[in-house]
Symmetry: C2
Subunit: 140 residues, 2 copies
DNA sequence: CAAACTTGATACCCGATAGTATCAACTTTC
DNA sequence: GAAAGTTGATACTATCGGGTATCAAGTTTG
């Protein structure tokens, strides 16, 4: 499920979209594909699922990319990774509200050693309803 | 601040937008103006502030209306009004994730006697950063 | 009661944005 | 080592959604 196995053209073909579109989603901060040391992208089945979900929400529900990004920017990472007050003080994400945490530089806090792609925060968004589910879980 | 005092044309003039635009924002679930018994809309200074914020986010930050709605749909009302498990079981909002709670019918739960316009949940969105601030407050 | 305004609805327009095509340079594969 | 594929970048297009204008019918106001 999480094994990066599809090249970008294979993944694009699987989903019926173009290669530049996949790269665009990445540039816009919606997905984080695996990268080989040569910088080549690889996609897992979970990545495919995620992109299909993004695609559906954009095409059928008519949200735009900025809207998706703002929704992702509300995932309460601080409560998920349980970072310290010290960490938060140095975190651009904690004070912002326009970009998801994985688009932000985080050299100075607990996240500096985490790989965002595998972080629970990024993965909280598996399908479209799951961010709210996460909030329900954290706020009983 | 909260006193409904401007008619729709006055409010529109104050903000430099058209009357149909104001009605559209309402139809889309972004604002809830006060309504006289005759159904005529009235806007308070807080309403004006809210609309200006929505406008800025749409025009400058390029989010679209569906995006705004999805962001509003993440306000954790259940934790704010502290509704019961019973209430949640009967609440369409609690199980959905596409519309803010005030767009949902709520006859069967604790919200049935609340006026959404004056509810803290609706008012959590005073300016654009405040939803995340609310989450920070609730999730220390 | 008449003028001004509001109501919901429909029809229309223009700009912006999601998506594609194409490029030269570089990697992978066999 | 040659063919196939990937990289980032730029340029382009078609669509569609935010916003406005306008309507007849109803309401306020003075």
């Amino acid at each position: 499920m999480d094994e990066p196995k599809y090249t970008i053209s294979t993944a694009a073909k699987l989903m019926g979209i173009s290669v530049p579109t996949l790269r665009m989603y990445e540039r816009e901060g919606l997905i984080i594909p695996f990268k080989k040391t040569s910088n080549q992208r690889l996609y897992s089945d979970r990545d495919i699922e995620r992109v299909m979900c993004i695609r559906k929400t954009i095409n059928e529900d008519k949200i735009n990319i900025e809207g998706m990004r703002r929704v992702l920017a509300l995932i309460p990472c601080w409560a998920i990774v349980k970072c310290s007050a010290e960490d938060r003080a140095h975190c651009e994400f904690y004070s912002g509200h326009t970009k998801p945490c994985w688009m932000i530089n985080h050299k100075k806090n607990v996240c500096k050693d985490r790989e965002c792609r595998t972080c629970e925060v990024y993965r909280s968004f598996g399908n479209c309803a799951s961010i709210k589910e996460k909030l329900k879980e954290l706020l009983p």
